[in-house]
C-alpha cells in the first residue's frame, strides 16, 4: 500500500484531497460529515465582510444527456456571522485534529481589516489561510476578490499586509479571469505568500432560457455573470497550473490544484503538473462527500501499480514534458490505421476526416455496411478519427517517421526544408 498522506507546508492530511472553499465547507455540520467520509482537509468557505445572498444561485451546462458538465454560481462569500464560523472551525479542528483546516479569507481592502481578520482566524487553531483573490462576482464591485487578483500590484500589496501578521502558512488563490495567472502569482510569491492555489471560477453565462430570454441563473427576471467550474474547466485549470509550475518564481512554492477535479485520475493529472494537494467542490456538490472513497482507493492502486511510495514521487513529473511548439520534432509522423475486425461501420471517422480534416479516409459503399480505409499518403496524423471512433482501439495511430533524426522548426527553417506538404 502506497502512502497517500500529504504534507503541505507542514500542514499534514491523510490524503491530498481537500474540499475547496464553497458551500460544502461553510459550516460545522458539513465539514464533520466530510471528515467522517474521509476527506483529507477543507478550506473553510471564505470569511470576510458581511454579505447578503440572492436566490437562485446556480446554473449548469449539460452535455448529451449528461448533467452538470459545467457548473456556475453567483453565490458570495459566507453569509453566516463571523463569530459562529470561528467557533465552529475551532470545534471541527478539535474533533478531527488529523485533518487540514485552512480558512479562506477576503477582508475589506484595508491593512487593519486584514490584520484583524487574520488574528481572529488564527485564534481558532486553523492550520493555514487561503486568500480569496478570485471571487468573480458580487465582491469585485466592492474592490475585493477578482479585482485584487487581476492586478498584480494590488495583489502584492495585500499579500504584504497579510504576511506582516500571519503566523501560519498563507496560500494565495489565483483568479483565472486574466490573460495569464503568472504575473499575479509572481507578485504574490515575491510578496511572501507561502503557497499558491488555482484556479478560482471562470466568468461565464451558462445558457439562456429560450422562452423568457433571461440567462441563467434566473433572479427575478435578471441574471449576472457567474463563476464557472466543474469538469468543463479542468483543461483550462491544468494549463494555468502548468504555467505556474514552469515559471522559475512561482514554481518555488507548493501549489494546491483546483478546477474540475472529480476523480482520482483528475487529481493525479493536477499532481503530475505540480499540485501537492487538490481541492474539490463541484463533484462533491453533485454526488456528495462519498466520492472521496474511490479517490483514495484509486490513487492508492495507481501508485502501487506505478511503484510510487509517496505522492512526492510523482508531483510535477509531467511538467518537463510540456515544451514550446518550436521545440517539437517535425520528423515525428503518425498515420491512422483502422482495424477492420473491430470496425462497426458507423462512418464517423470518414465524415469527420472528410468535412473536418484532410480527406484521408476511403469510403467503399456497401449495403448496409460501408468499408472505410485510410489513405496513408494523405493522412497527416491529426488524431481526429481516433478521437471520434466509438470503439476502443479500433483506430490506432502508427508511427511512420519522416526521418530518423530529431528536427525542430527552427532547424527546419534554417535548413530551408520544404513547406506545404499538404
Amino acid at each position: 500500500m502506497a502512502d497517500i498522506t500529504a504534507n503541505f507546508l507542514g500542514i499534514k492530511s491523510p490524503n491530498p484531497f481537500w474540499l475547496a472553499s464553497a458551500p460544502p465547507t461553510d459550516k460545522k455540520i458539513n465539514v464533520l460529515r466530510a471528515f467522517e467520509a474521509g476527506w483529507g482537509g477543507v478550506v473553510w468557505k471564505t470569511l470576510g465582510s458581511q454579505v447578503k445572498n440572492v436566490s437562485s444561485r446556480y446554473s449548469a451546462v449539460n452535455y448529451n444527456g449528461s448533467k452538470i458538465m459545467g457548473f456556475n454560481n453567483i453565490e458570495l462569500i459566507s453569509d453566516r456571522p463571523l463569530e459562529l464560523n470561528l467557533r465552529e472551525i475551532k470545534e471541527c479542528i478539535k474533533l478531527f485534529p488529523d485533518r487540514a483546516m485552512i480558512v479562506s479569507l477576503m477582508a475589506d481592502n484595508t491593512r487593519e481589516k486584514w490584520h484583524e481578520l487574520i488574528a481572529q482566524v488564527e485564534d481558532t487553531g486553523a492550520h493555514g489561510l487561503e486568500l480569496n483573490f478570485g471571487c468573480p462576482h458580487g465582491m469585485t464591485e466592492r474592490g475585493m476578490g477578482a479585482v485584487v487578483g487581476q492586478d498584480p500590484g494590488i495583489a502584492r500589496l495585500v499579500v504584504e499586509w497579510v504576511m506582516e501578521k500571519a503566523t501560519i502558512p498563507v496560500i494565495t488563490k489565483l483568479t483565472p479571469n486574466v490573460h495569464s495567472v503568472v504575473p499575479t502569482g509572481k507578485a504574490s510569491v515575491e510578496a511572501g505568500t507561502n503557497a499558491l492555489s488555482l484556479i478560482n471560477t471562470i466568468q461565464s453565462v451558462t445558457g439562456i432560457d429560450l422562452d423568457t430570454f433571461v440567462p441563467n441563473p434566473y433572479v427575478a427576471g435578471k441574471s449576472v455573470f457567474g463563476g464557472y467550474c466543474g469538469p468543463a474547466v479542468k483543461p483550462i485549470a491544468l494549463k494555468m497550473l502548468a504555467t505556474i509550475s514552469q515559471d522559475p518564481v512561482t514554481s518555488k512554492v507548493p501549489i494546491s490544484g483546483i478546477g474540475g477535479v472529480s476523480t482520482w485520475k483528475d487529481a493525479v493529472e493536477f499532481m503530475l503538473l505540480g499540485a501537492t494537494t487538490v481541492q474539490v467542490c463541484t463533484a462533491a456538490m453533485k454526488h456528495g462527500f462519498r466520492i472521496v472513497e474511490d479517490m483514495c482507493e484509486g490513487l492508492n492502486n495507481w501508485m502501487d501499480e506505478k511503484g510510487f511510495n509517496t505522492i512526492t514521487d510523482f508531483i510535477g513529473k509531467s511538467v518537463p514534458h510540456l515544451t514550446q511548439w518550436e521545440e517539437l520534432d517535425i520528423n515525428y509522423h503518425i498515420v491512422a490505421n483502422i482495424d477492420q475486425n473491430k470496425c462497426i461501420h458507423c462512418g464517423l471517422c470518414y465524415i469527420a476526416c472528410e468535412d473536418g480534416s484532410h480527406q484521408s479516409i476511403n469510403l467503399q459503399y456497401g449495403r448496409p455496411y460501408n468499408t472505410y480505409t485510410i489513405k496513408e499518403d494523405e493522412c497527416v496524423g491529426c488524431n481526429l478519427c481516433k478521437l471520434i471512433c466509438p470503439v476502443d482501439d479500433c483506430i490506432t495511430m502508427v508511427e511512420q517517421r519522416k526521418g530518423d533524426e530529431y528536427i525542430n522548426w527552427k532547424e527546419f527553417q534554417e535548413r530551408g526544408m520544404p513547406l506545404n506538404d499538404h
Binding site: N64, I344, C346, L348, Y350
Partner: protein, 447 residues
C-alpha cells in the same frame, strides 16, 4: 371442446391486448436513448429501411428538443411512420443493422424513438406539410391502405386532387384489419388515417369495392390517372380433406373479426392449431391465446431456419405459451358432427433447396395427430387474380406486373404494394406508394 366467445373478463381482455411495445414514459427516457445514437454517417439503419427514413437525423432532432422537426423528417420519407413504429419488424430492418449490434450492444430503440416523435405529431395535430396550389389534375386511388395513402399524400402535397375508393368502412388497410391488436389499435389506425388526410385534397369514399361498385374503366375515364393499391386478401386454401368443417377458419378472417369488433364477440376454441409460421400465423396464434384459448399450437412444415417470421415474433408466441411443432404439414382435418376434432399431420423432413433458396419439406411417410377444436389457416395470402384478370392487367399468378416506377401495362394505370409484391411489410407498401406517386406526377404533367 367448444368454440365460444366471451371467455375472459373485460379487464383480462384489456390486459391481454394492451400495447406490447409501450412508448417512452417521459421526455427524459427518450433523451437517454436518443443520446446513445452514434449519429452514423451514411447509416446502415437508413439503408435497411425500405422508405429510407433519415434515422440518425430524426433521433438527433429528438435530442435537441426539435420534436417537430423530427416528426417531419420521419413523415417526409414515410407518412405512416407512426404506424410503422409499432408494426415494423425492426429487428430485421433498421434496428437489425444498427452498428451497436456489431459491438454486441443493444441496438438503438429506433422504433420507440420514432413513436415518440410521431405520436406527438398525431396528438398535437402538427401541420407539417403545406399543399401546393391545385394543379388541376385528378387521380383515383383504389385502396386506402398503406400504399394508397402514401401515394395520395405525395400527390396531394403536389396539388393533385385525390379520390380514394376503399371497400371497407375504414382506412388503413391491413394496418387496420390485419395486424395483432396489441401492436396497433383500430382507434390508432383511424387517427393515423385522419392525420394523413388532414393535409387536404384527399377524399376517401368508403364501402366502394373495385369490380363491385366501381370499375377500372370508369375510373380511367373520370381521372387523369389511377393507382391500384388494393392489396391481397384471400387466404390460401390447404386443399386437404375436412377443410369445410366447422371450426376451420382462415387467419385473415379471424384477425379481421378481432379488429373490427370487440374482443368478447370473437369465438375461439379450447385447442387451437394454427398452420403456418409467417407474421400472420404468429398474430393469429398469439391473439387466439389472448382471447382465452387453452392450448394453441403452431404447426409449420419446415424448421426455424426457414420460417418467414422473425425470431422476435416467434418469441412473442413462445412467451404467450404457444406450442411450436416444426416439420408438420397438415394432411387431413377430422371431425364429428360436422365439427373439427383432430388435425392429421404429415411429419416432414428437409430436402433440397427450392426456388426460394430454402430447403424444401418432403414427406417422411410418418403421420401424427393433433387434437383440435379449431384450425386457423395462415399458410399465406393469394392475390385477387380474378379481379386483375377481368381488368386486363398483366399479372403473374394474380400479382400485377408493374415496372420499377409502378406503371402497369395499361397507360395511366399504376400499381403498388401487396397487389404487386404479393404481400410484404407495411413499410414496403408505403415506399411503393411514394414511387408510384412520383411516376404519376410525371405522367399527369405530360398530359
Amino acid at each position: 371442446m367448444p368454440i365460444k366467445s366471451n371467455r375472459l373478463t373485460a379487464s383480462a381482455y384489456e390486459q391481454n391486448f394492451s400495447d406490447i411495445h409501450p412508448p417512452f414514459d417521459s421526455r427524459e427516457s427518450a433523451l437517454v436513448e436518443a443520446n446513445r445514437c452514434l449519429f452514423c454517417y451514411d447509416a446502415p439503419c437508413i439503408k435497411s429501411c425500405p422508405t429510407e427514413i433519415n434515422i440518425p437525423k430524426f433521433i438527433k432532432q429528438i435530442s435537441t428538443d426539435n420534436v417537430k422537426g423530427s416528426a417531419h423528417t420521419i413523415f417526409v420519407s414515410n407518412i405512416m411512420g407512426a404506424g410503422c413504429s409499432r408494426v415494423c419488424p425492426v429487428e430485421k430492418l433498421c434496428e437489425g443493422s444498427c452498428v451497436y449490434n456489431l459491438m454486441e450492444e443493444t441496438p438503438i430503440s429506433i422504433a420507440r424513438l420514432q413513436r415518440y416523435a410521431t405520436e406527438q405529431a398525431l396528438e398535437k395535430k402538427w401541420k407539417l406539410f403545406e399543399r401546393k396550389p391545385s394543379a388541376g389534375k385528378k387521380v383515383a386511388i383504389v385502396g386506402a391502405g398503406p400504399a394508397g395513402l402514401s401515394c395520395a399524400h405525395v400527390l396531394s402535397r403536389e396539388g393533385i386532387d385525390v379520390t380514394i375508393y376503399e371497400k371497407e368502412s375504414k382506412g388503413g388497410g391491413l394496418m387496420t384489419y390485419g395486424i395483432a391488436a396489441y401492436k396497433v389499435t383500430p382507434a390508432f389506425c383511424e387517427e393515423e388515417v385522419k392525420y394523413i388526410t388532414s393535409v387536404g385534397g384527399i377524399d376517401i369514399k368508403y364501402n366502394q369495392e373495385l369490380g363491385k361498385h366501381i370499375t377500372l374503366a370508369e375510373l380511367q375515364k373520370s381521372y387523369d390517372a389511377v393507382y391500384l393499391g388494393f392489396g391481397v386478401g384471400l387466404a390460401r386454401q390447404l386443399n386437404i380433406p375436412g377443410e369445410e368443417l366447422e371450426g376451420v377458419v382462415d387467419a385473415i378472417r379471424f384477425i379481421y373479426e378481432i379488429r373490427s369488433g370487440t374482443y368478447d364477440k370473437v369465438p375461439v376454441g379450447d385447442k387451437v392449431v394454427v398452420i403456418g409460421m409467417g407474421m400472420t400465423a404468429i398474430d393469429a396464434a398469439t391473439q387466439a391465446k389472448r382471447l382465452g384459448a387453452k392450448e394453441v399450437t403452431l404447426a409449420y412444415r419446415r424448421t426455424q431456419e426457414e420460417m418467414p417470421c422473425t425470431e422476435t415474433e416467434l418469441n412473442i408466441a413462445k412467451l404467450d405459451g404457444c406450442r411450436i411443432i416444426w416439420l408438420a404439414a397438415p394432411a387431413m382435418i377430422k371431425g364429428e358432427n360436422g365439427k373439427v376434432t383432430q388435425l392429421v399431420c404429415n411429419l416432414m423432413q428437409l430436402g433440397e433447396p427450392d426456388a426460394s433458396g430454402r430447403r424444401s419439406p418432403i414427406e417422411s411417410g410418418e403421420q401424427f395427430i393433433l387434437e383440435a377444436d379449431m384450425v386457423i389457416k395462415a399458410a399465406g395470402q393469394i392475390p385477387f387474380e380474378e379481379l386483375v384478370n377481368n381488368n386486363q392487367l398483366q399479372h403473374a399468378h394474380g400479382k400485377i406486373v408493374s415496372q420499377k416506377n409502378g406503371s402497369t401495362n395499361i397507360p395511366g394505370v399504376f400499381a403498388g404494394g401487396d397487389c404487386v409484391n404479393g404481400g410484404k411489410e407495411v413499410v414496403d407498401a408505403v415506399q411503393a406508394g411514394k414511387v408510384g406517386a412520383a411516376a404519376i406526377l410525371e405522367y399527369v404533367a405530360g398530359l
